[in-house]
């Protein structure tokens, strides 16, 4: 009988050790954001700063990086991408799942092919096209390539197939148009899939550096990752106090959202992940 508590203690110890390693970067980020330059150079292992320098470092980060612009750009770009993805994908998935659609099989092949192609593979011609249309450094170029998400189509398709047909028949008997059915019957019922996809989409595009790096060269349109990269380059990466403060501010919104809506986050990633 004695072995059960021992096993439990070992398990708890292992999990705690791992958790500490996962948390270490966050701990150092917060601690370093409150240190003076000399503190950083002399006592890197002391977690509590000797002189509390939080205000100064944050002030520096806010002065050198247009934080509000970056966060605003991030919100606008992620918001627009998500909006278009859903508006484009839901009707298409509905047509494939619930209507007599002769091209449904062909669409399925296209979707499966599309799942294979990341932005990294299409970036060269897209960049060239946006350059020709003088659309570099604009929200259009940041958003447009992602308005189509085959992954969203694939996921909603799975979800709609499981929906009972009776619901649709009833709506049709009531004289609703197909577009009306999509807007008033399908979308409200697809809410769990929409939130799950929202989390997947926002996490992916909030984090993306590759595409913004290619189409944006001006601060005014920089997304959070790009802005942080500019800041680091400008500061030569040596003022770690201010750098950590900037990193902290930029990481906070998504982490806060995650902590508030944890269950949805985990559900969302599991749902999108497993169906991917």
């Amino acid at each position: 009988m004695n072995s059960i508590p021992a096993g439990r203690i070992i398990r708890f110890a292992l999990l705690s050790l791992g958790a500490l390693m996962i948390l270490a970067p966050y701990i150092f980020m917060i601690s370093t954001a409150g240190k003076t330059q000399s503190d950083i150079f002399t006592s890197s292992l002391a977690l509590i700063p000797q002189h509390f320098y939080f205000a100064e470092n944050f002030a520096k980060a806010f002065a050198k990086v247009p934080m509000a612009t970056l966060l605003w750009n991030g919100v606008i770009v992620c918001g627009l991408i998500f909006f278009f993805q859903v508006v484009v994908a839901i009707p298409c998935a509905y047509a494939m799942a619930k209507l007599k659609f002769r091209a449904a099989r062909l669409m399925m092949v296209l979707v499966m092919l599309g799942l294979l192609v990341p932005i990294h593979a299409t970036a060269l011609p897209l960049y060239f096209a946006f350059d020709r249309m003088s659309l570099l450094n604009s929200y259009t170029s940041l958003v447009a390539p992602f308005t189509i998400s085959v992954f969203a189509i694939f996921m909603f398709l799975q979800f709609f197939r499981a929906m009972p047909d009776d619901l649709l028949h009833a709506a049709r008997l009531d004289g609703m148009s197909e577009l009306g059915i999509v807007a008033r019957v399908i979308v409200p019922n697809a809410w769990p899939a929409v939130t799950a996809f929202a989390i997947f989409s926002v996490v992916a595009h909030w984090n993306d550096l590759y595409w913004p790096l290619i189409v944006v060269s001006k601060q005014a349109y920089a997304t959070p990752p790009l802005g942080l990269m500019y800041f680091r380059a400008a500061e030569a990466g040596d003022d770690y106090g201010a750098l950590m403060a900037a990193a902290l501010i930029i990481t906070l919104p998504l982490v806060a959202a995650f902590l508030l809506a944890q269950k949805r986050f985990v559900e969302g990633i599991t749902m999108t992940g497993l169906k991917g």
Binding site: L14, L23, P25, C92, A95, L228
Partner: protein
């Protein structure tokens, strides 16, 4: 007579309805089809086409060079280095983050009250801006003022120049990659674990699987098959696509020691503007993704009895 006519009417009405439904379906799918053509299919076709040309951005003209770009790739030392580095990075990050992800999931599954807390902690990196966390790792790995080497020196071990030396840079990047993806894999494994029916464990117990290890190999591992396959594919694909940390921390250096596939494509295409050559590299990158998917389907076909 009239019943036949009626039947004919019904049939043609049904055909009419089917046709109108087909038309509605086309309309509903039209925006998706247009965008798919515009942003996926045409660009892929263009990349394959450009891979056979010597097109460079800024020059108006280009000519066909056949397989010259591909022949050149075979002898391109940077590209070969880049393929090799990407393989090494993937060979480290994918297996380690899968095994750790599974381990953490199994440990958390058995945990009682602290379960929610641990799940949150391990998942945190997935919700964090990787570019921001990369700068934190840069500080941790700093050879002189970084906490990691300070810790090592307490133990009397001279710390390496983690991100600055060509023999350690790839391993340092791998540590960041593992840190980033363990939580993601854990969440997928947890979902797979909760889908295993409890009765199977009871049955295994009756069948004489007394130890936890026996039960793992008898029930958990085979039942997790589809989840594991999925986690393996997504881990490999994600590792092959490593870019953010490299661009942010090393720029492929020192001395090309951390040059990876996407970084090389980015440099060729968007810095040196050799679009034709970069397109050929992109085709190789796409081919790797296709092969990975085909392998997944093959394995899935053979293992289908588990699902």
């Amino acid at each position: 007579m009239s019943s036949v006519a009626l039947a004919g009417n019904v049939a043609s009405a049904a055909a009419l309805r089917a046709r109108s439904e087909d038309r509605t379906a086309w309309l509903l799918a039209a925006p998706a089809i247009v965008l798919l053509l515009l942003f996926v299919l045409l660009p892929v076709a263009a990349v394959i086409f450009l891979g056979f040309t010597d097109f460079e951005l800024g020059y108006g003209k280009f000519r066909f060079v056949g397989f010259e770009n591909y022949a050149h790739l075979l002898n391109d030392r940077t590209f070969r280095r880049s393929l090799w580095n990407t393989s090494v990075y993937t060979a480290i990050v994918a297996p380690v983050s899968i095994v750790l992800g599974l381990g953490v999931a199994l440990l958390i599954e058995g945990e009682g009250r602290a379960r929610g807390f641990f799940r949150t902690v391990y998942f945190l990196p997935v919700a964090s801006l990787i570019v921001a966390m990369a700068t934190v790792w840069q500080y941790i790995f700093h050879p002189t003022i970084g906490p990691l080497n300070a810790l090592l020196s307490l133990a009397g071990i001279p710390g390496p120049n983690w991100l600055g030396a060509s023999n350690t840079v790839l391993y340092s990047l791998s540590i960041i990659g593992i840190w980033q993806s363990v939580g993601f894999n854990m969440v997928l494994f947890l979902a797979g674990l909760t889908a295993i029916p409890r009765e199977l464990y009871a049955a295994a117990h009756v069948d004489g699987a007394k130890s936890a290890l026996d039960r793992f190999f008898l029930v958990t591992w085979p039942m997790l098959g589809p989840t594991t396959l999925f986690v393996v594919t997504i881990s490999i694909t994600n590792a092959v696509k490593v870019f953010e940390t490299v661009k942010m921390l090393t720029d492929g250096g020192p001395n090309k020691a951390s040059e990876v596939l996407l970084f090389t494509i980015y440099q060729e295409g968007f810095v040196y503007l050799r679009v034709g050559y970069a397109s050929a590299m992109t085709v190789v990158f796409l081919a790797i993704l296709v092969v990975l998917m085909l392998v997944q389907y093959r394995v899935l076909d053979r293992r289908v009895h588990y699902t």
